[in-house]
């Protein structure tokens, strides 16, 4: 793989991670959001695979494949099933409205470029230059976690955070040990499974899955 193709491909894949993160804030349809999440998983895997191909690192390639399967296929598939359980699958009234969230996301992205400027300046390379994208994904995910009402959206936010961290580690250390990635992926999977039970139970009890309603379970 020559240098220009490597740079271009890496930029494209990392860019896709960020764009899909922003898209999850933009769209309201839960189905679309989950599709974006799966796109993000695939792009994340692509980042890992491109890095692996560039550095001839077998373990990293294996991690990439794992990410592809878990975050690109299994997790989105499960989330899609959960979304289907819920009759009204739209994020209707987020705590912060959509245009404002988008503008805030832009601010977060600028912020992440500022804070990671020092990191990138330590070891300037094609890979480290993309680190801000990972940081931005983490911040956007956290923002989504805070401002979205629906349970599924909150989990999506959590997964965004996880994907962002994974991206940063891929880029900085050229790959996490396989066992760590395996562990974190299983964590995410577990969260999704728990969510499924939660939503099913809430659906039976309250016919909706907005977490604001959780207070009522108290009584």
């Amino acid at each position: 793989m020559n240098a220009a193709t490597y740079t271009g491909a890496l930029e494209l894949a990392a860019g896709a991670v960020l764009v899909s993160a922003v898209m999850t804030l933009w769209r309201r349809q839960v189905r679309t959001i989950v599709t974006m999440l799966s796109l993000q998983g695939i792009s994340l895997a692509a980042v890992a695979l491109i890095l692996a191909a560039h550095e001839h690192d077998g373990a990293l390639a294996l991690t990439g494949l794992l990410v592809l399967i878990v975050k690109g296929v299994i997790v989105p598939g499960l989330l899609r099933r959960i979304a289907r359980l819920d009759p009204r699958s739209r994020e209707t009234t987020p705590l912060v409205n959509v245009p404002a969230s988008l503008v805030f996301a832009a601010v977060l992205i600028v912020l992440s470029y500022v804070v990671s400027a020092r990191v990138t300046s330590v070891a300037p390379s094609v890979a480290t230059r993309m680190v801000p994208i990972g940081v931005a994904t983490v911040l956007v995910g956290y923002f989504m976690l805070v401002t979205r009402r629906r349970a599924v959206s909150k989990v999506v936010g959590l997964i965004l955070v996880d994907n962002g961290i994974a991206l940063v580690t891929f880029l900085l250390t050229s790959g996490v040990p396989l066992i760590v990635e395996l562990g974190s992926s299983l964590d995410v999977l577990l969260v999704v499974v728990v969510l499924q039970f939660l939503v099913i139970n809430m659906g039976e009890q309250l016919r909706r899955s907005e977490l604001d309603q959780m207070k009522e379970l108290h009584d």
Partner: protein, 665 residues
Amino acid sequence: MTLLLVGLGFCLLGVLTSALPRTYRVPVTASCAALGCALAFCAAMRVLVTGDTVSFHTTLILPLNGFAMTLDPLGALFIVATALVGFASCVYCIGYVRGELQSRSAMGLFVAFILSLLAVPAASSIATLMLFWELMAVSSMLLIVVEHRHRREARDAALWYGVMTQLGAASILLGLLLLTLRGGGQTFTEIKSHADALSPIVRSSAFMLVLLGFASKAGAVPLHVWLPKAHPEAPSPVSAMMSSSMVAMGVYGIIRVGDDLLHGGTVWWWIAVVALGTLSALYGALHATTSTDIKRLLAYSTIDILGLVLIGVGAAGALRDTGHPAVAQLALMAALLLVVAHAGFKGALFLGAGAVERATGTRDLDQLGGLIHRMPVTTTIFALSACSIMAVPTLSGFSSEWLLLQGLLHGFTDASTPTLIALLVGIVALALTGGLTAVAFVKALGIGFLGQARTLGAVNATEVAPTMQIAMALLGAVSIVLGLVPGLVVPLINRAAQSGLSRSTMSPLARGTGLVLAQLRGAIQPAFLFVGAAAVLVAVWLINRRLVHRSARRVDAWGCGRDVQTARMQYTATSFGEPLQRVFADVLRPQSDVELTHVAESRYYEQSLKYQNQVSDAVEQFGYRPVIDAVLRGGKAARRIQNGSIHRYLAFGFVALLVVLVVLA
């Protein structure tokens, strides 16, 4: 220099002639002031063309170091802009003045105000600067209350303005005095030579204090609250002067102190300036889209444009020491060109608004309409200036915004991260305000001057006096000249920018009628574009002559089959701006009220419907009100110790004396 002094002398004469009897007062006074402006214009132009700096110093007028004036190209550019608007306003006055402004004191104050505006950019010592600065502040404050008998709002506006401007002046004075700490004298040359000896902390705090004062004069958000109150309440020629010249003095001050006296300082100063500018540009543009009072709309648009100017000034400051001197100069030139262009179109717009108010008795857009049929000249000039502010190509607003974009865009090459973000934010602000300004001015023009007349006042309007038309046309012409052949003034603003940055580098723009970047790629040739548009029109006409030759038949408007289209059915200014008001409700925080009364018999038929919509300034409401309330509460509490008993007052003095003695011992 003599020319400028003679000009100022004529203004002074104007102040005296305002004591003449009523019949001669206005023409004589206004002519004196106009002549003064013309002379000042010539003096400043000579400095700009030759590039020589001239100065004048006397110990006669002021005590201590005396009275020092220096006319350098930077100050001269601001004098040119002021003199243009001043001249036009004086000519306008001759036809306009009636009622309150005709009084002795009002005319005198008006001329004194012009005098101070002409003198501020030439002042070259702290004492001289503050003398004229205070004259400017006091005379304009009194001019705001001239019509207070008819409008109660004027008193409130003057109070706001008075407090804000005095706080600003105190802040400026404090900042400038800080600069004299290390043995420097109080003239600008002395400060300049000692500036590098000061510690960075002193320099930074001095700049921040000065910035606070000047930015509040330039209407920068969040120090702008006085501006949309004060500018509309003053008589229109005064509003024109305030909005096109006085706010520019704030910009002048920032450039003079930051770039000239302190040689640029650190990048953070200028990033603060860009931040202020961005905030103002967006906030001003947004509020302009929802304002329904034509002068209030213009005042908010002043905040918007001055915000863009500050972005240019800030970008120039941030880039000046980064190895891009040419780009820094470009950005500063853009800011200066925008100041001059703004003086032209905003002056014309305010004078136009005054003409509308004179002819119809109102400045509420919701009560106007159809003025194009009754006031064609005023409408044409207002439309031209509105097009200029909307940055229609081949007019002055466009030339200056293009130059500003170039300054920001070319700064991107290897700038540091903070500067990069500042430039990016500036570009985003420039892009966002463009569309919003268009909405505001389509509203002002379309609702105010087109369509059907909404009230009797608008129906009975007639064209205003010829002197007023001439004054407006004069300022309208500035838009055309700076728009079609901006290259002509490039050498002048280049000289001003050089003297501002105290550098003599090559001009970043090539010679010619258009604007052509010398070392970088980028150019516009508005005159050629205009010719191109004309060629297209000729071609269309040649192809289809019937379009022009066949006369049109007048019919009732169709309106989707609606029979009668009354004036009340038209969209109003409120409804025109409503969609944007709703989109930006989080920022604007509008208060809407719908009151519905039903017919007694049935709930399904309403008897009357009342809709109220008010957009008040959110910064004022949430930033200033709490402070004012706290001060008032403090004042009330303090009143308790004042019960009118003379014994108690004497006791206070005695106790204080004892305390002082104890402390000293």
